[in-house]
Amino acid sequence: MKSLKKSLLSAAVASVFAVSGAQAAGISDDKVKIGVLADMGGVYADICGKGCVTAVEMAVEDFGGTVLGKPIEVVSADDQNKPDIGSAKAREWVESQGVDAVTGLVASSVTGAVTKVLTDNKKIALISTSASHAFTTKACSPYNAHWTYNVVALANGTVKPMVDAGKKKWFFITADYAFGHALEKVASGVIKNNGGEVVGAVRAPLGTTDFSSYVLQAQSSGADVVALANAGADFVNSLKTSAEFGLTEMVDVAGLLVFTHNAKALDPNIAGGMKLTTGFYWDMDDETRAWSKRFKERHGSIPAMGQAGAYSMTMHYLNAIKEAGTDDADTVMKVMKKNKPNDFFARNAYLRNDGRMVHDMYQVRIKKADERKNEDDIFAIEQVIPGEQAFGPMLSQCDFK
């Protein structure tokens, strides 16, 4: 009797261990849960927001809705561009709701706070729209994957060709917060390394409506190029004012971070001709057009680069889970870095050990009014910039194998 009890007990214990062992190798909580965190109603809503949710949902549907026989679930939340709100949401997701990876991620300040929470919890950050290069340099982590673009690629893509073409003197109108400072710093480095000089810079607070003072200062600086190191409404307002005060006719004005939606919000007579760098353009070839058409049917507008990136990275993540046979973050990340992403978005691409997704970037020109066939016809691709050239080398301390 005793021995029977004992063997029953040991069988029960063994079965418990067996189950937990199986869980570690398979899918935790019997589902794969992806959280989309983005600014849903504020200044950055158009460049990721609900469009990123749509893109991730499309990826899940195209993948078949299940992985390793377990359902894939998508949840989303509004971070309101506030790091505290974003990190609290991420913490709630990973600590009590079984979220396996967080994507979206727009404002660099929010992404900085969220990636910290995710790394502490050993969960993957799939960064789609943030610009700062910190997540793969000074704040790098084995759990970060940064898709789409970063400030280094923008500077190399837009600034270097202009300096090489003899535009040596630069003036910056910079957004006065982390992103603007990072962009100005990286771009200034590119200018100096290529024999140019920075003749001046003004730091305009985020959300400045009237840029005329700064434009006047740029005008009297003697620069060949005035670089707008800002984004969104700041970019639109500063470029409008530059055109109004005749700056665009005197010197080159370079927008360092321009999303299709911002370019669309500008009069083609003002913005037409400007060259810039992007990680994706919907009208590049048949593959991009086919996906973008599907996206537009569901979302109502053409995809911004981060939205296309969100699809691409979700797909790569799900494929990696399938191959790894588990959703364990360390294992999945290894597979993501081993396999090369290759889809309508990711061309000549690979995920580097520091988490930087290196892929072709594009130097584009904003089309003038008479070149445009319809309202979505915004960019003309001038040149493909190979990923290695755009993103620069990896830091040795971020080489997470």
Binding site: D210, S212, Q217, S220, E244, A265, S301
Partner: protein, 295 residues
């Protein structure tokens, strides 16, 4: 180049003029707020949203109905004014006898709803609205290039501001208005329809924001959050000028434009803060504001 104490004078003149342009804009926006507060004692937090509506209506009028800038300059303020009239009649009047805090919260909520609705309908990136052909181009002054449209902003804002001030402070209609809000019962006894005056005053104040919105559409990004960005600065200006002082709002608007312009020249990082620093100093030394009467 002419310099004085190491300062580039041409650059400085340019900044002063640009400050004056922005100041005339501030004057126009704070005027509406000052009228609504000064005469009706309503703190209208929806004024920024009305400014945004003005810009969007101008855009819609052009794109959906083919109404050009000049016609929009008349029609849009009227349309926004009508919304103001409806707002006063059906939302604010029922709580007119409550504490001021109620109308403040109501208008604040309304502003958030409008901003959210426009973000939902048009997205957050904004719309483009071209400068009318007649006002394109500009003149090269000795110290700067002055776009024609900016010159137009100064002139038209000042005309509207001075005309409004004159109407309220110097005409019989203005006297009725001031008396009607000062002592409604007495004026009612004289056979003046005070509720109507209140409604129309509110509509006029809101219409001014709509006018400013049309003026802004060609030079600033027409986006749902354009009003909320502007509103706080304009409130600070009204507080500095003295809550409810109409002349004070106009002069302070111009003055703060210049102060802000100079800050942008000498220390741009502080340009969005300088007005609030002035506000703090003024409140500490003259709590009723520069032109306000001590209660």
């Amino acid at each position: 180049m002419a310099t004085f104490l190491g300062i580039n004078l041409f650059g400085l003149f340019g900044q002063l003029l640009v400050g004056l342009i922005n100041g005339s804009f501030y004057a126009l926006l704070s005027l509406g707020l000052a009228i609504i507060f000064g005469l009706l004692k309503i703190i209208n937090f929806a004024q920024g949203a009305m400014y945004m509506l003005g810009a969007f209506f101008a855009w819609m009028a052009l794109n959906y109905m083919g109404i050009n800038y000049w016609a929009a300059l008349i029609i849009v303020p009227l349309a926004v004014g009508c919304i103001g009239v409806l707002m006063e009649r059906y939302l604010l009047r029922p709580i007119a006898n409550e504490d001021h805090l109620y109308s403040l919260l109501l208008t604040f909520g309304l502003a958030l709803i409008l901003q959210g609705a426009f973000t939902h309908m048009f997205g957050s990136s904004g719309m483009s609205y071209a400068i009318p052909d007649e006002l394109k181009g500009g003149n090269r002054l000795p110290f700067m290039y002055l776009p024609n449209y900016r010159a137009w902003i100064i002139i038209s804002s000042l005309v509207v501001c001075v005309a409004t001030w004159y109407m309220i402070e110097k005409t019989k209609l203005g006297a009725y208005l001031r008396a009607g809000t000062e002592n409604p019962q007495l004026m009612q006894a004289f056979g003046i329809n005070v509720p109507l005056i209140v409604t129309l005053t509110f509509g006029f104040g809101v219409g001014l924001a709509g006018f400013a919105g049309v003026m802004a559409a060609p030079v600033y990004s027409v986006s749902p959050d354009m009003g909320s960005n502007m509103l706080i600065v304009v409130f600070a200006i009204v507080v500095i000028g003295g809550m409810g002082s109409i002349g004070g709002a106009i002069l302070t608007g111009l003055g703060m434009g210049i102060v802000e312009g100079l800050t942008k020249y000498f220390y741009p990082e502080a340009s969005t803060t300088v007005i609030f620093a002035v506000m703090v100093i003024v409140l500490l030394t003259k709590p009723a504001g520069l032109f306000g009467k001590e209660a």
